[in-house]
Symmetry: C2
Subunit: 305 residues, 2 copies
């Protein structure tokens, strides 16, 4: 099944305790598309870049089955740029620079061929833009997922709530779930958020894994314990890409299959953090992915006797 992803394609400059990289490829849509491309080659990407963005990188995506008809390239424009520096714990970070550049005028036009995509992943953007994407879809979707952040809760909570009402799966982190719901306990937060609309909720806890909620059902996917986390940038988007790519591949939105999708997303995220930028995500093969899924199985499997 086809997957539509709408979000940023960008440059990042990242510093971690292990080193620094400048003007590397980043952006939610980029991570989502690369991650999903290991599961489906029917992906539509909708984003905006300046003509400073390397054609070779766009071609690499295109070669992975990513349809770029929805990518607007602004002549003479500069691509979205983010720069951040991670603290020694590799969790907290300072944002040093956010240059919206061409993203300031992003008004996504969904190509006709993408309007019936069965699976849709709305990356973290203004709620108004996310709503405009929903307005353009043909309504035949099997599952629409949306990512957001505390910033939009601070300045556009009402708009955010009205777009959340229209989607099937919300992905946010634990602090955002608390802010959105007004509840400290994630179990109670999930109840409140379900009542806002989404049937599924994924609460991301970074190195502490992710919780999947549907009604009274809860599933927990740990983060894979790793000897070294090199760069966490893009891990959340890589998680979303693996999850949505798996759903597009299997076309099954039951809770049981959603569990597998969440584990698949966690496995892809565990690759992402092992190197800067897309370095690791761009060179995987199916056997490595299968091995990693088996490591999750070993990490979590037990029998009651």
């Amino acid at each position: 099944m086809s997957l539509l992803t709408v979000g940023t394609v960008a440059f990042d400059t990242i510093e971690t305790p292990f080193g620094k990289v400048e003007m590397v490829i980043g952006g939610a849509c980029t991570y989502i598309s690369w991650s999903a491309s290991y599961f489906t080659n029917d992906i539509h990407l909708v984003s905006i870049v300046g003509d400073d963005f390397p054609e070779s990188e766009l071609k690499r995506l295109s070669d992975r089955g990513v349809n770029m008809d929805g990518l607007k390239i602004v002549k003479g424009g500069k691509s979205f740029f983010w720069s951040g520096k991670y603290h020694n714990n590799m969790i907290s970070r300072d944002t040093l620079v956010t240059d919206l550049n061409v993203l300031a005028d992003f008004d996504p036009m969904i190509p006709d061929s993408a309007k019936s995509s069965k699976y849709v992943m709305l990356g973290n953007l203004t709620p108004a833009i996310q709503a405009s994407v929903l307005d353009q879809l043909d309504g035949s979707q099997s599952l629409v997922a949306l990512d957001t952040m505390n910033f939009w809760m601070d300045i556009a909570m009402d708009e955010l709530k009205s777009v959340i009402k229209r989607i099937n799966l919300l992905t946010i982190n634990d602090e955002e779930a608390r802010q959105l719901s007004g509840e400290h306990s994630l179990v109670n937060a999930a109840k409140v958020i379900h009542s806002m609309g989404p049937e599924y909720l994924v609460i991301k806890k970074g190195e502490h894994g992710a919780l999947l909620f549907r009604g009274e059902e809860i599933f927990f996917a740990p983060a894979l314990p790793l000897a070294q986390v090199f760069d966490p940038t893009g891990a959340g988007d890589t998680f979303a890409g693996g999850m949505m790519g798996y759903l597009a591949k299997t076309d099954d939105v039951s809770m049981e299959n959603m569990k597998r999708a969440v584990i698949t997303g966690s496995a892809m995220a565990s690759f992402c953090v092992e190197d800067f930028s897309l370095n690791k995500l761009q060179i995987l093969n199916q056997s490595e992915i299968n091995d990693r899924l088996q490591r999750f199985k070993n990490l979590m499997h037990f029998d009651l006797v």
Copy 2:
């Protein structure tokens, strides 16, 4: 099989955002024994109290199959007292009072009948006292577990390392694992700690669950997501008690069975935090415990397809 547990029996005064209780029953040995008593009724408790400790509470333990021959009751002495106040996040806390009282002179004498206990849980005490317990055992143990804390790493690291060398299972929290090993990554920390002696290592992460390590094998037990955490006091000891009680019951120290033991400990800890002190732990039945174990299974089970 028999379980020997050595540690504190105490009074606690605890304040959480949900209320305050004064001079309630506490102590590592108390939580460990109560938790383990749902799995074995062949438990030896070795500890020290003053004659201010209520006989009725000792009788309740005794009625659960806990042999109290190793409990020293100091005439005219006062029992160990701890007081703490939890912050709103229910994780960090301030210790307000630590009155060692009779614990200052604790020199545990293991009764002859307990020296051949197949399973031994050494609660958090000075490394010298833990070593003195090991010296008194007959060497026929199947598994000896030890709990400790950062305080002993600060002031008695060498003594601690020499007692860690003699045990089979170490339980510590994530920050303590980092301090003990000098490694930030828990995967690397586990390697270093294995090289210090223990075949098994459990790293407790509070609300984020626990990791079980043996060599290259890792198993993860999440904490059960709860609508309300009422009082986290004793959760770590309750975890240890459930784990060790399950091992004593099943008498199997394979990695597969250790996984079940860790899940059992997590299930018991999830009861502990639902009320103050031992209130919940003292009124459980087997059916509630089985239901909770099934909730862990549901929380973690998935099939790869």
